[in-house]
Symmetry: C2
Subunit: 236 residues, 2 copies
DNA sequence: GCCCACGACGGCACTGAGTGCACTCTCGGG
DNA sequence: CCCGAGAGTGCACTCAGTGCCGTCGTGGGC
């Protein structure tokens, strides 16, 4: 437990963290809905009004660092030079979220159990995830401005990236945060990249002869091809 | 205005519809957050307690028919014989939602304006849409049970279908519900079908020989392989 | 050293959503 | 004529969230 993250970047022990700690202790031992804001502030030893100074709602205390993570993501997307491969870029942006979860595995797992059980928290998490998806989609819309169905492709790809990310993240959270999450994440995001295949080419200085491909029928779906490749390469 | 839909299927003038009508009149003329439940029940001429008999929350009155539509969708998905093409099936299921919106264009447009302006309603709509997405994903998970990354593919495809659907639906709603919505919907869903192309055209059960892959060097990075495949297939 | 402004914190009272309970009214059946 | 059930209502209560104001500590200007 304990988020060890200074709320605004300075080095205060910060009452904000005390509220998060108190809240999670109560949420875990008696449930989210059975815990009132008065209980939290009583345990933290602060005034009730101060709670709402730091968290606009009771739900927000469950996601204390998503606001900063969303800012990081938008900054990351805005920092690009503009000639990166767009799909790869949003996949890398999604990895930022995984990294935030991986920084505090036990905290992330506890929160996962909470959101899984409480419908109100699930609904709130959706609105959080939706903002990430919008950030990705807005970036792709800018990059795809010249394409024919640019906004459609942007929305669909952003949704696919988020879904793949969530799939890998949840399976990692279900396994109590054990093991390396990034491997499954790479696998999941590779599926999306292959489906919407914007040539995943970075700064490549490898010779083209290292790969020889023969495809017998051009009508085959791309995911089938990738599946075949992966089994040929001996991957899971 | 007026939802003309009998709440439970029988022919009552039903107090439920009166509440929806009264609520939307007030929402449109003075805003959602400026309207209290007491205002609604006063206009409808019923007791306050009766409102919560029909709608578990104030937000629910904005989406009076989604519960039934979700039931229709799950029934549609369960009604299949099991040999339909899965991606096409979920696309058809998504079209059911569009049909519900198209049945009451003016009502749908009014609701769209509301949800666009009020953050609380946007968040609630997300949880509604999420349930559709889960229904589609669960169906695909069953159909993809034998595949290697079945649940991953199911989640990603479901998200992509919902995103494409929402993209087409929103552009139709933005244009005041004019024109034929199904054409844009077909176009959007065709994009998803082509990306995850489970046989876009016929009901062909693919033989494994449709893909033959030869890789000359096993150390090659996956993106190089995909790049080669794409150029071989003649894609962008 | 003194004072004042400012910002963080706390207390209080209020609105409004949502709930549990008990009551009435109506209707259909024995 | 009575009775039981279900729909609707009124009432009182909890709790999230807000506006307002008072308090306290701190730091800077004089």
């Amino acid at each position: 437990m304990s988020s060890d993250k200074a709320g605004t970047g300075n080095g205060k022990p910060s009452m904000r963290d005390a509220l998060v700690t108190a809240a999670f202790r109560l949420f875990l031992e008696r449930g989210y809905e059975q815990t009132t804001v008065d209980d939290i502030v009583a345990l933290a030893g602060v005034g009730r009004r101060s709670f709402f100074r730091y968290f606009p709602s009771k739900e927000d205390v469950v996601f204390p660092d998503h606001e900063r993570c969303l800012a990081d993501m938008t900054a990351f997307l805005a920092a690009g030079t503009g000639d990166e491969e767009p799909v790869r870029r949003v996949c890398d942006a999604a990895r930022l979220v995984l990294r935030m979860y991986a920084e505090n595995p036990t905290f992330s797992v506890q929160r996962y159990r909470l959101t899984k059980k409480v419908p109100g928290l699930r609904a709130y998490e959706l609105s959080v995830v939706w903002r990430y998806e919008r950030a990705l989609a807005d970036y792709l819309r800018r990059r795809f401005a010249a394409r024919r169905d640019g906004t459609l492709q942007a929305d669909v790809i952003a949704a696919a990236v988020v879904a793949a990310h969530n799939n890998a993240l949840r399976s990692w959270l279900r396994s109590h945060g054990q093991g390396e999450a990034s491997a499954a994440m790479d696998h999941a995001l590779a599926y999306v990249q292959s489906a919407f295949g914007d040539a995943p080419a970075p700064a490549a200085q490898e010779q083209p002869e290292d790969v020889v491909v023969v495809v017998s029928r051009r009508g085959a779906p791309l995911w089938r091809v990738v599946q075949e490749i992966e089994s040929t390469l001996g991957r899971a």
